[in-house]
């Protein structure tokens, strides 16, 4: 090493350090995956063996192999897909309508304090009400089809998004608003350039909750009264003691919920790149 290569030397060392760190991380990831598989096996293997040994009653608990068989045949033959479609469509519609209305309501209430004051008691009562209690009424109003499920979903998602939007606008750094006011922003400009973008992170945490609750609402609605949908299937399998169908359908619902969540998280990451910069 010549004396001029001191910086090069440091960079070389850094590069090696980065490589070592990378290898360490990769090893850790592999270990985590192995351990997860072990945990899963620790749950499934005794279950399967217990059923085979006659220690666990498959009538109530089914068995991993029966659930797997159910999933393979149902997903393969296509029998479950129309139900998946209905449930997903209801959940998405409910989420979309509820989210748009909730964000709009939150924004309007923050822009017009009089509106907020007047609507406060009514919205508070609706919000503390266990929304599931409204399900039978929604069936009366919107019929036994998808409408009543969407309505139930909207009644949950709306409040989540409204409250999150309001919290986001309220918690906005005062300094940002004063700075922009001093820079000559009009009320409308303040709203579009400061308050709305400033509330986006809070809206997204609302949406992450919202998709999960939308799915919950439509499944509950389907279980109460419906001819289609995964909730209806669950109610049916439970009533006819088909544990494999029950648990298999629940797994399908979990997968749908997971996909919803991944989509929201990815959109959020795209829109929030300015915030993620300091973390990566």
């Amino acid at each position: 090493m010549t004396p001029t290569s001191y910086a090069e030397n440091v960079q070389f060392k850094l590069a090696r350090q980065v490589d070592v760190d990378k290898a360490k991380r990769r090893k850790r990831t592999i270990n985590v995956v192995i351990m997860r598989i072990l945990v899963l096996a620790a749950l499934l293997v005794p279950w399967q063996l217990g059923v085979e040994a006659g220690l666990i009653d498959p009538l109530f608990f089914s068995s991993p192999s029966a659930i797997l068989t159910f999933l393979v045949t149902e997903l393969g033959s296509g029998g479950v897909w129309p139900h998946v479609l209905v449930t997903v469509r209801e959940a998405l519609m409910g989420f979309l309508i509820g989210a748009v209305a909730g964000v709009a309501a939150g924004i309007l209430r923050m822009q017009f304090p009089l509106l907020a004051d007047v609507t406060n008691p009514f919205l508070t009562i609706l919000n503390v009400l266990p929304r599931v209690a409204l399900a039978p009424m929604f069936v009366l109003w919107f019929g036994i089809g998808e409408g009543s499920k969407i309505a139930l979903s909207v009644s949950l998602v709306f409040f989540i998004l409204m409250l999150n939007t309001e919290a986001g606008i309220k918690s906005l750094d005062r300094e940002l608003i004063i700075t922009q006011r001093a820079l000559g922003a009009t009320r409308t400009q303040l709203f579009w350039k400061v308050m709305l973008p400033g509330a986006v992170p809070a809206m997204f945490s609302g949406m992450r909750l919202g998709v999960v609750y939308s799915l919950l609402a439509v499944v509950v609605g389907e279980m109460i009264a419906s001819q289609m949908g995964l909730g209806q299937r669950i109610a049916f399998y439970a009533a006819s003691f088909q544990g494999d169908g029950l648990l298999g359908t629940i797994l399908i619902l979990a997968a749908i919920g997971l996909i919803f969540n991944v989509v929201v998280v990815n959109v959020e990451a795209k829109l929030m790149h300015w915030r993620l910069h300091d973390e990566d």
Partner: protein
Amino acid sequence: MTRPGEEEVVANLAGQAGGADGISIEKVGHAFPTKDGGSILVLGDVSFSVPNGQFLAVVGASGCGKTTILNMAAGLVRPVSGRVRVGGKDVVKPLRDTGYMFARDGLLPWRSALKNVEVGLEHRGVPKAERRERALKMLDIVGLSGFGDSYPAQLSQGMRQRVAIARTLAINPATLLMDEPFAALDAQTKLALQAEFLKIWEKDRQTVMFVTHDLAEAVSMADRVIVLTSRPGRIHAEFEIDLPRPRDPAEIRFDEGYLRQLDQVWHALKEAEERAG
């Protein structure tokens, strides 16, 4: 008044601010309501004016109403009594050609540095291409060319404050209100930014009202220093700083004339605090 480009600036100011009036604070008294239903007198009959193109520094104890005066000149607070005029007109809302800078940068975290510099021009409806060009130029002036695409979270505090300076100057303000703009910076960065700001100001000669707790900053940068008493704030003393320009806040630290004036201001401030306390 022989500096090249001076006439242009004055003409510009006359056009923007409607006359050579600068900032005038006339018999201003102000109080804030307190939680227990009473009120707290913050300013008691303050009058002074900043002629066009002057750099005025205001010093005084914490809580004596300095920020309140700036907020009034910025159109963010209305005085309970008295008048505040900028460019000859009463200030009732933020003026389009007044820039306001704070100790905290107030940058919008979701906007890149460039977009942050552009924001004031956006408020004024300046077309996109023109906005971009001006913002790039301002970033270059504050020494941040090449950082336009960085987000505030990726910049150091000194760099963020530079972006804030660029943002404030981008709207081409005739009047600058500055509330301890360099207070949050380390000593080195502070000196660097003071020098940079002075260089820009000595060229453009905006009317400046500059609030600070740093007496060295006040004396090394300003044409005139006003010392306020403790709350309720009143004018205690006033000094003309007749040091030659261009000045370099780092170099001037050992200048005899500077040290003498610094000493005077320091004594005045001490006196002001003791008298009211």
